[in-house]
């Protein structure tokens, strides 16, 4: 049996390889949207923030978790929306 740390490490290393494979194929034209999209994805830490806020109450831990949720949500919502906005410009027909 391997422990949770090693399983996590397996997952991490394999995901890095998947990331390398996909991202090297992304054309330079799309690098800015890639970056803001990736940024939004890194807001996945929101899951951790929500988990950390589960106890409620008025403790330091709850306040820290609340601020974490705000930060991560800004990152997620803002990141995906602005990426969509940019990608919309790439596809649109020229105004004549």
């Amino acid at each position: 049996m391997i422990g949770p740390l090693l399983i996590g490490l397996y997952v991490f290393v394999l995901a890095i390889f998947v990331g390398f494979e996909i991202i090297t194929k992304i054309p330079p034209t799309l690098h800015t949207p890639l970056m803001s999209g990736a940024n939004a994805i890194s807001g996945i830490t929101l899951v951790g923030a929500v988990f950390a806020a589960r106890m409620g109450g008025l403790n330091a831990s709850a306040v820290l978790a609340f601020v974490a949720i705000v930060f991560a949500t800004i990152n997620v919502v803002g990141g995906f929306l602005v990426t969509d906005r940019m990608l919309g410009m790439f596809g649109r027909k020229r105004k004549s």
């Binding site: 995901a15 799309l30 890639l34 970056m35 994805i41 996945i44 820290l64 930060f71 969509d84």
Partner: protein, 474 residues
């Protein structure tokens, strides 16, 4: 059984992140890819809420509401020229969130429960190390990104800020944070000591983030944002290790890989190593003055228009100056007019044009330039020889021939757009002042270069007006 369903939902989310990212490999599918990644995020968050069951949701709902509002307003309002600083700031929020999650876990499990056990005994040895890593990387990402944001938005000067003996200071700080982290993970047994160790780690890593970014000059910003992007992903991954969440580990790793690749691409495009970017304080050398130049010939917009009127192939080379002058729309109008006269017009984009990877493409797309007309450097260079006229707007170092001809030049070896091979180079610039690298550009003195001095937007509009007059007269 129920937990299996949740695990499967997290798996669906992780797969959708990968499929979404894959969508970003093509312009046609990119928008859908982004939407899939957003869906993946929604599934992950919803699953977490379901998994937690009936808990006190007030903090969570309030946090989601406040964050969504701020994020949505920022996303709708931001100008495309301000994209780099916005990405930097969002990055900081992502890193900061990871650090705060780690802090919250430490407070909840140790400090508030007044335990006498160490972090390692409470959370397990590996979680003790990863909670420290997520705290450390998150803090570095946060403060580094905030400094990058301040620099990019012009609130802090762009030139490198060099502190004396900073390498020693950095070494001491890194050592200090490692010791504090070690103590935090394995030795502190009462809540006061644990809290103190936490605060030391936070303070030192915030300082490391600041010191990492302040010595870096404006031209190197694309490298720095890419690197911070990567770090924000790694911080999320580390949080995933703490919480034993595979979806966090996977998506964090994807972002980490993405940021690393972009960092690498940017370094290659400037012919510099990452270490050189981070530690050399490039661009701190005193800027040269106009007197260095001889034989510079200045031309009017009218003369420029006459050259363009007879040109059959035109390449536009946009630099960040184009964005600053808000000249992208004027450039596109000029291109339209030249095309209506039968000329072939393309845009040659240097990989580090703009302030972040791919920035120039977004700015031109914002001005309705079809992306098929944007040519990458490697494809653009072989065409230069047969190009009648090149219009350089707001770019400098990326067209400096010294990168190829002068082995002593600080930019020697950097790949450049070989505009000097074209029949005529129209260089639209405010003055002879140097670019980010702070060096002379001998292109200005070449016989086939016509300097047209002035604001990029105004000059392009003046050329446009002259061209219209010329064609009306003909």
């Amino acid at each position: 059984m129920k937990s299996d369903v949740f695990s499967l939902l997290y798996l669906v989310s992780a797969v959708l992140f990968i499929v979404g990212l894959k969508g970003l490999t093509r312009v046609r599918t990119a928008r859908r890819g982004n939407a899939l990644a957003a869906l993946a995020m929604l599934i992950a968050v919803a699953t977490t809420l379901l998994e937690l069951g009936s808990i006190d949701y007030r903090w969570i709902v309030a946090g989601l509401a406040v964050g969504s509002t701020i994020g949505a307003i920022a996303a709708v309002r931001v100008q495309m020229t301000a994209m780099p600083e916005m990405v930097a700031l969002f990055n900081g929020f992502g890193g900061g969130a990871s650090a705060l999650v780690a802090a919250s876990v430490l407070w909840l499990e140790l400090i508030e429960s007044n335990t006498t056990a160490t972090v390692a005994a409470t959370l397990g040895g590996s979680a003790a190390v990863t909670v420290f890593l997520s705290f450390l990387i998150g803090c570095v990402t946060f403060s580094g990104s905030v400094v990058a944001f301040l620099k990019l938005s012009g609130r802090l000067r762009g030139r490198p800020i060099m502190l004396p003996g900073r390498h020693y200071v950095n070494a001491v700080l890194v050592l200090g944070v490692a010791v504090a982290g070690w103590a935090l993970a394995f030795f502190t047994t009462d809540s006061d000591a644990t809290r103190l160790a936490c605060l030391v780690v936070a303070a030192v890593s915030l300082i490391v983030g600041i010191l990492m970014v302040i010595p870096i000059g404006g031209a190197d910003m694309p490298v720095v944002i890419s690197l911070l992007n990567s770090l924000s992903g790694l911080a999320a991954s580390a949080t995933g290790f703490v919480l034993g969440s595979n979806v966090l580990i996977i998506s964090g790793a994807l972002v980490g890989a993405s940021g690393l690749i972009l960092t690498q691409i940017m370094c290659v495009a400037m012919n510099r190593s990452l270490g050189n970017v981070l530690f050399s304080g490039f661009g701190e050398t005193a800027a040269g003055d106009d007197s260095e130049y001889q034989n510079v010939s200045s031309y009017s917009a009218e003369e420029a228009a006459m050259v363009l009127e007879s040109a059959e192939s035109v390449v536009i080379v946009p630099g960040y100056g184009l964005a600053v002058a808000q000249a992208q729309h004027a450039a596109r109008e000029l291109a339209d007019l030249l095309e209506s006269h039968g000329a072939k017009v393309t845009y040659a984009i240097h990989p580090v044009a703009g302030r972040m990877p791919g920035h120039m493409n977004v700015l031109l797309a914002d001005a309705d330039v079809p992306y098929e007309k944007l040519i990458e450097m490697d494809a653009a260079n072989p065409e230069m020889r047969t190009t009648d006229a090149v219009i350089v707007v707001g770019a400098n170092d990326v067209v400096n021939p010294a990168a190829e001809t002068d082995p002593d030049s600080p930019i020697h070896g950097m790949p450049i757009l070989r505009v000097f091979e074209a029949q005529t180079v129209l260089m639209i610039k405010r003055s002879l002042s140097p670019g980010f690298a702070g060096i002379k550009n001998e292109l200005f003195e070449r016989d086939n270069t016509m300097m047209v001095f002035g604001d990029g937007k105004k000059i392009l509009q003046a050329i446009l007006a002259e061209l219209k007059e010329l064609s009306a007269a003909a």
